[in-house]
Point group: D2
Chain length 92, copies 4
Amino acid sequence: MKATAELQVIPVGSGVSVREEIEQVVKVLREHALKVEPHASGTNLEGELDAVLTATAAVHESLHDGGAVRLISILKLDTRGDKSPSLKDKEL
Amino acid sequence: MKATAELQVIPVGSGVSVREEIEQVVKVLREHALKVEPHASGTNLEGELDAVLTATAAVHESLHDGGAVRLISILKLDTRGDKSPSLKDKEL
Amino acid sequence: MKATAELQVIPVGSGVSVREEIEQVVKVLREHALKVEPHASGTNLEGELDAVLTATAAVHESLHDGGAVRLISILKLDTRGDKSPSLKDKEL
Amino acid sequence: MKATAELQVIPVGSGVSVREEIEQVVKVLREHALKVEPHASGTNLEGELDAVLTATAAVHESLHDGGAVRLISILKLDTRGDKSPSLKDKEL
């Protein structure tokens, strides 16, 4: 099943600037079979739903391995039964 | 890795009342090895991160199989590197 | 216009435990004309949409006044044109 | 207080394609004193927190006036006590 998605990862208990962690988030997402489009409030994703979920787990593992104490993520998922969703179709 | 989570599934393009779909969401979540606590804005979850993600995929599959045309989900994930998170600890 | 809502406030750059800030969030929400139901992933709200939004702004102001350096909030809003939404109706 | 934000509005109980409603969302947001950047999973905003919240209420009012039966919105807010946040600073 194909999905479009948005992942925002919020490191809690690190410093107030989290740029380094966000760069790591995008780096890990790009290692998966996904279209990856970072923006100011998260990263838009397109690909198989399983790939989106696997990539999300990999992001949490990678950041905790790198020392993150606590991570709160907001993952939006959009799937359709009638056709294959795409980021392109969702742009105005 | 253990996680607490919240899943809200929004069926789009079905009727305005989505109670039947939400009951199906909770039913599918309960088939997984998770603590499952439904509330008015979603369902709180506790368990292995992988189980949370597998259950989320199973929910989308089950609802599309049941005829849902489009599903938008909001999944909040909370993981910690220093200790095992629990819903109990997050209550006031 | 009446709304049901859920507010989760995430203090970033404070310590890893944010219990004190969350207690302050709920305290400020209770000073407004809203039904307030805290749970493990946020606080469910019911009342006028304007009251929900005013309370959300008051929470950000109060926590920054108390020293919070950065706050990320996730606010879910649910409004209806056909009837008055309630938290009660959204429970299973 | 200045904020960056992201608003995603999900019309429930309308058709499965909600492009017309989303165009109306962006149109209403642009009538406020905000930087408005639509993307595939919502619209990023920058401006005074009060303007973000006022614009969000105006969007719900406008879409219900236009016939929307039910609207679920996800609003992310990001405010800082130490400096003025901007969408520009949050891009990688």
